[in-house]
Symmetry: C2
Subunit: 214 residues, 2 copies
Amino acid sequence: MVRSRVSDAVIRRMPRYYRYLVDLEKNGVERISSEKLGRYTGLTASQIRQDFNCFGGFGQQGYGYNVTDLKNTIAGILGLHKHYQVIIVGAGNVGQALANYTNFKDEGFTVAALFDTQSPPVGTFVNGVLVWPVEKMEAFVREHQVDIGIITTPQSVARKIAERMAEAGIKGIWNFAPVDVSLPEQDVCVENLHLSDSLLTLTYHLNEDPAKKE
Amino acid sequence: MVRSRVSDAVIRRMPRYYRYLVDLEKNGVERISSEKLGRYTGLTASQIRQDFNCFGGFGQQGYGYNVTDLKNTIAGILGLHKHYQVIIVGAGNVGQALANYTNFKDEGFTVAALFDTQSPPVGTFVNGVLVWPVEKMEAFVREHQVDIGIITTPQSVARKIAERMAEAGIKGIWNFAPVDVSLPEQDVCVENLHLSDSLLTLTYHLNEDPAKKE
């Protein structure tokens, strides 16, 4: 049975469910109804049931969801049963912060190398991760099994770096540079995360006419 | 004339238009049609016209948009005509990276202070920004005009910090901790940015059945 393509909105809610389920499990909750999960996550019970139905549905009528089972199922859907080898190109503030981000290690992501053109000096270590000259990136990717390339370079070079990553064989790119990267023809998954887009959404709301707010 | 409430999806596309318009202006482009803007941004011309109509519409039939005027109008909608005083609570990797993020300075955001309980040591400077003990946050906010509070603390204390920010009078919160913060009763705008939700969207796609990809 082939599942139909799941919408982007549903996919983007799955990590949120996962986050809440990890918390519920930590707090010793064993089962939960869609209604309660809705109250936690700020969604409606029917939305949650619809979302889960995209993946076949996980609940039992009258019982709800087993928290650990649901958490593990969603972890599987999100690919968290695997381990990911990651490189970061751009060892500036954001690149260094990500290299130091212990949460990623806990979730199965290992930063194998940082690449940059200048500072921090090539050959130094950031949180035990060596900084390499960016010219060595392709060779590194071919020699190691690199699953994800993170781009934290200035905007001007981000697209070029993404193309180089794709040519070297990286299949997943997480881009923080303030430019939209997409590589539809190369079978590469790209997730663009624009910090300033999020900040400007906040300033929009700060300046909204109070009468129009919810 | 009261504008009706603009949907979240439209609001979230405005920073993206702004980003592209800044680029177009930098590249000397003076005017642009919705079709061309659509090709740039990956949206359809009719989507763009609909989005802009939520704010009254900016184009002229047969002319398109004047790039600089449109950029300035959207900057105004996003509140970028103002200057924002920002504090960051949580001077770990992400907090330090944000304190160092020069893009924010260029866009009118000044980080006035960092707050933490431990490292980097209180009293040290990160990119010229002093690290204060978190107990002093309320006093600092009352003495200075603080518009936005950024939360980069561990998950366990994020909600408490958000409540303390709101009580001290901060009206905008940008939360990076992996927990959803909302303060609907206190007239505080909150934007949650979850790095790992974005990363898990990428791993979802990396593990998707190729036949189901677009």
